[in-house]
């Protein structure tokens, strides 16, 4: 069975249909780029996978574990799914190390020493072992996002969901975060990421998924999707992002 298996996923907010009958299988080690216009449902899609949004119909399995509304079952599922947010969402009152160690203590019931060891190892992995005692506000945006990645990795997830993780960063800080994700991808981590970094998607991702009006409109290998887009919507979207990039 695929690592992430999504079948017939539908989601509406009130009368607004945001996700329409989405099915997608993600294999272990795949890196998927989700692209599409703002409002096309990319964030909602990611948030359904770890149960932050409740789907209306359809099924999602992660590592054979079904996503269900029940809090206890969700908790178990979320141990397998790491989520990284656009706004980092670090815990402001905790140091970088405590940010990575807190859930190990609270959720995995690790001893303080064990949790610190794991937390520190993950911080080192994102190149921030030396900032373990810094508070979030003492770190740059890029460093904060790397701590957020370390925090997610500390739980040993089988898949990472990244929602525009570089969109809140100053341009010169984007690369250090992408670098970390690139390394994770090389090590075989399964990643589903919403991104506007087309060159990154092209060079790192195994598959690109174009969302349009709540549907998986077109998907395929990056070379195909970027080099030979089949639908007019994707052509138009790529045209817009290309001209936006040149305009910058």
């Amino acid at each position: 069975m695929s690592l992430v298996k999504i079948e017939g996923l539908c989601k509406s907010f009130g009368g607004l249909e945001v996700l329409r009958d989405i099915s997608l299988d993600v294999e272990r080690g795949e890196v998927i780029a989700l692209i599409g216009k703002s409002g096309s449902g990319k964030s909602t899609f990611l948030r359904c996978i770890n149960g932050l949004e409740q789907m209306n119909s359809g099924t999602i399995h992660v590592d054979a574990e079904p996503v269900e509304a029940d809090e206890r079952k969700l908790q178990k599922l979320r141990l397998k799914v790491g989520m990284i947010f656009q706004q980092f969402n670090l815990f402001p009152h905790l140091t970088a190390l405590d940010n990575t160690a807190l859930a190990l203590r609270v959720v995995k019931n690790m001893s303080a020493a064990e949790a610190r060891a794991v937390g520190l190892a993950r911080l080192e992995k994102v190149g921030l072992g030396h900032r373990a005692d810094s508070r979030p506000h003492q770190l740059s945006g890029g460093q904060q996002q790397r701590v957020a990645i370390a925090r997610a990795l500390a739980m040993d997830p089988v898949v990472l969901l990244c929602d525009e993780v570089t969109s809140a960063l100053d341009p010169e800080l984007v690369e250090e975060v992408l670098q970390v994700i690139r390394r994770l991808a090389e090590e075989g981590m399964t990643v589903i990421m919403v991104t506007h970094e087309m060159s990154f998607a092209r060079s790192v991702c195994s598959r690109v998924v174009f969302m349009h009006e709540g549907r998986l409109h077109e998907m395929g290998h990056p070379e195909e999707v970027f080099g030979n887009p089949k639908t007019p919507e994707l052509r138009q979207f790529l045209g817009q992002t290309a001209s936006a990039a040149t305009a910058e």
Binding site: G82, M83, F85, H93, D98, L102, V107, M155
Partner: protein
């Protein structure tokens, strides 16, 4: 005719004043600690308890905020014994202060929790925490930090309001003042001195609260 002032008459009563200061500080220390605990528990209850508990908490908060402190105190000290709940003057005073601060504190802490970015809850639950764990480990501390100046002001307000506990014969600073006044008839002098002492106490309590805010709340290690 303007009387000449005579502060020396007060010197015989310095022990009474000292005891009054001690009682007032004791009341506010214990009352504030309990009141904060009540506030936090009420905010927690409003988030996690069934509807009837939430309604009870809301009623409690509204009841306290719409009645005078003196009436709350009399109710606890004179009223409750009729229901078989009697306590010493000191206990009644502390309970009244905790209940009073608890109600205002609930609204203040709740505002802090409500102002917490949704992303904090989401980050915590995405890591596998329950909402309850997220509340205690992630949301509460920054909310208290954010609202600490407002909470501190409220604690000082309650401390000033505590003067009325002298009405049930708790021997606080105001009780001492009234007592000395009745003995010496040096009203101006004694109330002048006691006013000054209250100002100093308020300043000290504010300072202590600032230090607590800085040292205790700012070091949010994983417990």
């Amino acid at each position: 005719m303007i009387q000449s002032f005579d502060f020396s008459a007060l010197s015989d009563y310095s022990d009474v004043v000292r005891h009054g200061v001690y009682i007032t500080l004791l009341l506010i220390t214990v009352g504030a600690a309990l009141g904060l605990a009540v506030s936090i528990l009420c905010v927690w209850a409003r988030l996690f308890c069934p509807a009837w508990v939430r309604i009870a908490v809301t009623s409690y908060v509204e009841f306290v905020r719409n009645t005078p402190f003196l009436i709350q105190l009399f109710f606890i000290f004179f009223g409750l014994p009729q229901l078989g709940v009697s306590m010493s003057e000191m206990t009644a005073a502390i309970v009244a202060m905790a209940i009073n601060l608890g109600a205002y504190g609930t609204e203040i802490v709740r505002a802090g929790v409500q102002a917490t970015a949704k992303g904090q809850w989401e980050a915590a639950t995405s890591l596998g925490m329950t909402r309850n764990q997220a509340f205690w480990r992630v949301v509460l501390m920054p909310a208290l930090q954010k609202m600490w100046p407002t909470l501190s002001s409220q604690i000082v307000i309650v401390m000033m309001g505590s003067a009325v506990v002298s009405q049930i014969a708790v021997q606080d600073l105001t009780f001492a003042a009234n007592f000395i006044q009745s003995r010496t008839f040096r009203a101006f002098e004694i109330y002048f001195v006691v006013t000054a002492i209250y100002i100093v106490l308020a300043a000290l309590v504010r300072l202590a609260l600032r230090l607590i805010g800085r040292w205790v709340l700012a070091t949010g290690e994983v417990p």
